[in-house]
């Protein structure tokens, strides 16, 4: 350092700055962001362990091995399916300005400002079409592949709880391939791809073949995947549980539900804690960057998300526990603090905050999580007592119910500054739309409501016929004898003793 002239002129300083930025930006910051995202992916992967324990504890012991096997195969089949087509359908977009590579200076500017990206077709708004089996996928995008794989596997595994104790193993494998290869990636493409028709990440270049830039003027604000992950999983659970029918003995002759508690609450709650832990990858990781050159303290996005996640879960747990206690007190007159309900409440709070976590203030996260607990409780009662759907793990109420609420909450509570931190400004430099409670207009609510509708429509339209078909050919449900005896004895060797 001593050898160089120590004092710089202003102009020299600017140039040095540019050199530093180029150097730090392309190597170090990119690497650090990749590290952050991949690490988050590990935590999301760990949610598989959480689901496995949650499910294992929540079923009767005679079916525990079966459901754990479903959970481990979720990760395995999910990986293959994501490799073959999942990533391609979800993120197989032409890279903007890829075709400008090699150009410099004015030629580059002209190229970037010019026509839409070559290779962009109108169908790109609906589905991606390249990188099947990772072919031609640049290695610098592998971090995205990995991170998004963990999301796909998580979304798929939700259903295992809803079909527990009666679904055939073979049917579940087919379902898994179906959802990770096609159903989930398409929804993820809509919401998160730079080309997706509901995405707020579109630009003038990627939206060139459409008549609008952002749907409803804003696009869907779904930070970590209430629509793409939780609602897809929850709605598929609804279709599956409805087609499959209730477990034997779940409803008595009069149609009233009979309790069928799981065999091991310790495992269930271990699962809840592991899921909560993994959620710190799921939500903050969805920022996919921790540092941006030219933006000071970009890490504040991920950090606010981590706090909102915590607060949402805490509020959800407490609300649910007290609601359940009050309900029981008023119906039965006893005060019972139900552990399993509290655990589901934590998950309900987490799901509720998943969509809006990047856009809301901490106080709003309290409200969202708390109402999420209420939504879960009501949805669960409606499911069981009105719709008569048997969902051993309450997956529908937690993931679909709170997923809907999370999207609506995003339309209500999104705060202007935080939206800008995540998505930047509108192309004309103005503020992005934000939540109507925060003084914004209704466009976010409109876009998010649209997301709810299309996810319901799309998932039900594909999964219901699929499950009905499975049922018709006799592949879906085990025989009553096997069900009564438990799936472990006949299908998976001996008992899981505990």
């Amino acid at each position: 350092m001593a050898d160089v002239a120590p004092v710089l002129t202003e102009a020299m300083a600017a140039e040095v700055n540019a050199l530093i930025e180029a150097n730090v930006g392309t190597t170090l910051v990119a690497d650090v962001n990749n590290y952050f995202t991949v690490f988050s992916g590990y935590l999301v992967f760990f949610m598989q362990a959480g689901f496995a324990m949650l499910c294992a504890g929540s079923v009767r012991s005679k079916n525990a091995k079966n459901i754990i096997l479903l959970n481990i195969l979720d990760a395995c089949f999910g990986c293959c399916a994501w490799y073959l087509t999942g990533f391609a359908f979800a993120f197989g977009d032409p890279v903007p300005f890829e075709h400008c590579g090699g150009l410099e200076g004015p030629a580059l500017l002209e190229c970037e400002a010019g026509d839409p990206i070559p290779g962009l077709s109108a169908s790109q708004a609906f589905i991606g079409n390249r990188f099947f089996a990772q072919s031609n996928l640049p290695r610098s995008s592998f971090w995205l592949w990995f991170f998004q794989f963990t999301f796909a596997a998580t979304g798929a595994t939700i259903v295992s709880g809803a079909v527990a104790e009666r679904c055939k193993f073979e049917a579940y494998m087919l379902y898994e391939l179906m959802i990770v290869m096609f159903v989930y990636p398409v929804v993820a493409h809509w919401m998160w791809s730079t080309c997706g028709w509901l995405s707020p990440w579109r630009s003038e270049a990627t939206a060139a073949k459409q008549s609008y830039l952002y749907f409803a003027g804003s696009g869907v604000y779904d930070f970590a995947g209430d629509a793409a992950v939780h609602m897809v999983g929850g709605v598929a659970s609804l279709a599956a549980a409805w087609v499959l029918g209730p477990r034997i003995g779940r409803f008595d002759a009069a149609g009233n539900p009979v309790d069928m508690p799981g065999h091991n609450a310790s495992l269930t709650l271990l699962g809840v804690f592991l899921l909560w832990f993994g959620w710190y990858g799921f939500n903050p990781g969805s920022a996919v960057a921790f540092s941006l050159t030219g933006s000071e303290n970009y890490s504040k996005v991920a950090i606010a998300v981590a706090i909102n996640t915590t607060v949402g879960a805490a509020a959800g747990t407490i609300c649910t526990l007290f609601i359940a206690m009050a309900y029981q007190y008023f119906t039965l007159g006893v005060v019972v603090w139900d552990l399993i309900i509290a655990g589901n409440g934590a998950l309900a709070g987490l799901v509720s905050i998943t969509g809006p976590c990047g856009f809301v203030n901490t106080w709003a996260a309290f409200i969202i999580g708390g109402i999420g607990g209420f939504v879960y409780f009501v949805a669960s009662k409606v499911n069981l007592n009105v719709l008569k759907i048997d969902d051993p793990l309450d997956a529908i109420a937690v993931h679909a119910g709170c997923g809907v609420w999370g999207l609506l909450a995003g339309g209500a509570f999104s705060a202007p500054g935080m939206v800008t931190d995540v998505y930047g400004t509108m192309p004309d430099g103005s503020q992005r739309p934000y939540g109507f409670i925060m003084g914004g207009n209704g466009s976010v609510l409109a876009a998010n409501s649209m997301a709810i509708l299309v996810v319901f429509g799309w998932t039900l339209a594909i999964m219901t016929p699929f499950f009905i078909l499975l049922k018709k050919v006799g592949l879906f449900r085990v025989s009553p004898e096997v069900e009564a005896q438990g799936l472990d004895v006949s299908h998976h060797g001996e008992f899981s003793a505990l």
Partner: protein
């Protein structure tokens, strides 16, 4: 930027150019460390669930889940403000601003998350000591009090720039320096005192006032072992705790850049050595004692697990300021302190502590804080706490074994006594009030039957007959594996 400070040097340029990335990386580091500390909630939950009898497991798991949630809300509303960890101009006893995070710079929010995880850890230590007999309501009230008031005040003392025991006391607004306690302040790097002792002392107050479980002491007052129902869960909890400790101790550097990664790596090493030495020494000492008294050699896994935790607690305060070999000694002595504390509790004071939380967190925590007064080296103290403000040579006091004199030990001792007085006094009064109000303990019938059936919606295990071993630890009365009574 440039126009303010022309002419610039290259150094300025580098500092300026790297500052945003460095700040962001430090923030990720703290957040991910906090996530590890969060997982310690799962560890405590599994440890206590496995360490109690099956008929009370469900309730204790619920308490562990709820204290996490209560901690988030209460620490948000009150705790962070009272802790005042980032405020240099607060008073030396308690923080007075930033309630509900109002006025906190958004870029500093990561500190809240990290500290929340610590608060939850301090709170949850007590759940095990009160297990199997405290009511749910009393536990929730206790959580609110400790997170909302008792714990944050202690952290203010030792970690805030204005706390009376803090080594971080800094320049005041008028340019004068605050005097440090005994000229050094207390060194409690990751919280043997502020976290573990707080939990341990509160556990002591609670367990003493709550009284032992039925059948814990026989007619002659001799302790009767009441082993937990599931060792696998308990040791799973221990491993998760140890894993989480890698967020707890190394994360407490609060940064990893600008050369601090060397401190981080050193803290990893000392943490590992402390835990390992604690586990081994506890197991062997226990075997030796048992061999001398009963003539049998029994290798008890729960003793080893608690020993490892005691070693980890002991190394928590000195982890950044001692040599690796000293970490081994601190861990080993932590093992003996734990065993002595456990014996004192159960045989002399007749206090019933189902998971030995008092001995592990309280006693080993005291030892950890004091050990810093002996083993802290000059170089590491300087590296960790920086130069001494307001002095010419900038040397901070270091451990007595290195010739640093007794002042540091005195400061550590005063700090320990202050925590005991503060936490013991407040929590003692609180638990006494709960007891007087009849809110503290479940009825004798409920306790005999196990709390889960009547209070927590059924047994933790459903539809299982007790396996061979269950009979040895828990009588297979109708309370252990009942069918679930009423609808959820």
């Amino acid at each position: 930027m440039a126009e303010e400070s022309v002419p610039l040097t290259f150094e300025d340029q580098f500092a300026e150019a790297f500052a945003p990335a460095t700040a962001d990386i430090n923030a990720t580091y703290v957040i991910i460390s906090g996530v590890f500390v969060f997982l310690m909630q799962a560890g405590f939950c599994m440890l206590t669930a496995g360490s109690v009898r099956a008929r009370n497991a469900r309730g204790i798991i619920l308490k562990n889940l709820m204290d996490t949630c209560v901690a988030a809300l209460v620490y948000f509303l009150l705790g962070w403000g009272l802790a005042g960890l980032l405020i240099g101009d607060g008073n030396s006893f308690i923080g007075t601003s930033q309630f509900a995070l109002g006025g906190l710079d958004p870029t500093m929010l990561y500190n809240w998350f990290f500290q929340f995880c610590f608060a939850a850890a301090a709170c949850t230590i007590v759940s095990g000591a009160l297990a199997e007999r405290a009511t749910f309501v009393s536990y929730i009230l206790y959580s609110v009090l400790i997170i909302g008031f008792v714990y944050p005040v202690v952290t203010h003392w030792v970690w805030s720039p204005s706390g009376w025991a803090s080594a971080f006391r800094s320049e005041q607004a008028d340019g004068t320096f605050r005097s440090l306690l005994f000229g050094c302040g207390a060194y409690d790097f990751a919280g043997s005192g502020a976290v573990h002792m707080v939990g341990g002392v509160a556990a002591f107050a609670g367990a003493a006032l709550l009284g032992p479980r039925m059948g814990r002491f026989d007619a002659n007052g001799k302790p009767v072992p009441i082993p937990g129902h599931n060792v696998a869960l308990a040791v799973l909890g221990t491993f998760i705790l140890w894993f989480g400790w890698y967020g707890f101790n190394p994360g407490s550097t609060l940064m990893v850049m600008n050369g601090t990664s060397a401190i981080v790596a050193r803290v990893c090493v000392t943490t590992t050595l402390g835990g390992a030495a604690g586990g081994i020494m506890t197991l062997f000492t226990h075997v030796l004692i048992q061999y001398k008294t009963t003539g049998k050699v029994v290798w008890d896994v729960m003793v080893a697990a608690n020993g490892a935790l005691a070693g980890l607690v002991a190394i928590t305060a000195p982890c950044a300021t001692v040599e690796p070999w000293a970490a081994i000694i601190i861990g080993m002595c932590g093992a003996w302190v734990y065993l002595g504390g456990s014996y004192l509790n159960s045989h002399i004071l007749k206090i019933d502590d189902p998971v030995d939380a008092i001995a592990v967190h309280g006693w080993a925590g005291i030892w950890g804080v004091l050990a810093n007064g002996l083993f802290a080296t000059e170089g590491f103290v300087a590296q960790t706490y920086g130069t001494m403000p307001g002095t010419e040579d900038g040397v901070r006091l270091y451990g007595g074994f290195y010739g640093g004199g007794g002042k540091l030990f005195a400061a550590q001792l005063v700090y320990v006594l202050a925590i005991i007085g503060w936490v013991g006094g407040l929590m003692g009064m609180f638990f006494f009030a709960l007891k007087m109000a009849g809110l503290f303990r479940v009825s004798a019938e409920v306790e005999a039957e196990g709390c889960d059936t009547s209070h927590y919606g059924g047994s933790v295990y459903h539809g299982l007959t007790p396996e061979t071993g269950a009979g040895a630890t828990a009588p297979a009365s109708k309370g252990v594996f009942p069918s679930k009574g009423d609808a959820a």
